[in-house]
Amino acid sequence: MDDLKVIEIKKSVFADNETDANNLRKELKDKGIFLLNLMSSPGSGKTTTLIRTLDLIKEKVRVAVMEADIDSDVDARKIKDATGVESIQLHTGGMCHLDAEMTRQGLDNLDLEETDLVILENVGNLVCPAEFDTGSVRNAMILSVPEGDDKPLKYPLMFSICDVVVINKMDVAPYFDFDLEKCKEYIRMRNPEAKVIPICAKTGEGVEAFAQWLLDEVAAWKVSE
């Protein structure tokens, strides 16, 4: 047992997932399906925002939802009851994120022939979901006002991979010393390309801007090479 042999690997732990994710994206493109990966902290209002958004888009695009959580199916039920949109629950088995393989298993449970857009509500977490590509076409995140305007500084990776940052609970901004302009500036520092959309999911204010962004992206993806 004294002599030891070294086998070099020199490989990123994320490499296999990145390959899986790229393959999944290609397959989805062939099938004409747009996958949106929606991320945020727990309690930012992802499900409420999603319900509002679905009400605005469900007549215009064939949409289905995959809810990822560590446990329970409360979110999938809530979505289905509130909007009538097909919604399935994925359990991550204790894992704090979804990877491309888990996303694929979820997609296998949907009727993809009848779908143009799949929205994946990732596990509430600003760290791990940013590191694991799900195979999505676009990444969106929701930051809610009580979390603070400095979140982009604390979780730089999450903000740097998102195409759109929705800022929710704008109605309570005065109570939390939340500075929207400062927050936008911090987001730009991490990601100059990110679109920022302030909303209030409770009243529905601003949600149509997010819905329109999504519909435009789905339409552009369908005709892209």
Binding site: M1, D3, L4, K5, V6, I7, E8, K11, S12, F14
Partner: protein
Amino acid sequence: MHELGIVFYIIRDVKKTAEENGVTRVSSVVMNIGEVSTVVPEYLTDCWRWAADKEPLLKGSELKINPIPAVTVCEDCKTEYDTVRFGKTCPSCGSTNTVLLRGNEVEIESITVPENN
């Protein structure tokens, strides 16, 4: 438990390499962990102990961590600087047009196996 998830990925990759090389016992796994990779080395080794001991291939094996200091380069004045100390802003010219050179690694460097394996 971010690190536990990462440990599962490491175990999967190490098992694959072991299979390809006909290895039945691993003594240690060496990881390159970047300073700004968001992986906490102590948590990673704790999670490793718990998960690796459940695998016959990895029982008792050690996870060795090779820390990689984070370095950022300024695209404008080409200065290379300590990322943890100065973040996105170049300490030399004040530009934020900067790119992380290294320090983001979560990489399996190698595995060590007994010679008579």
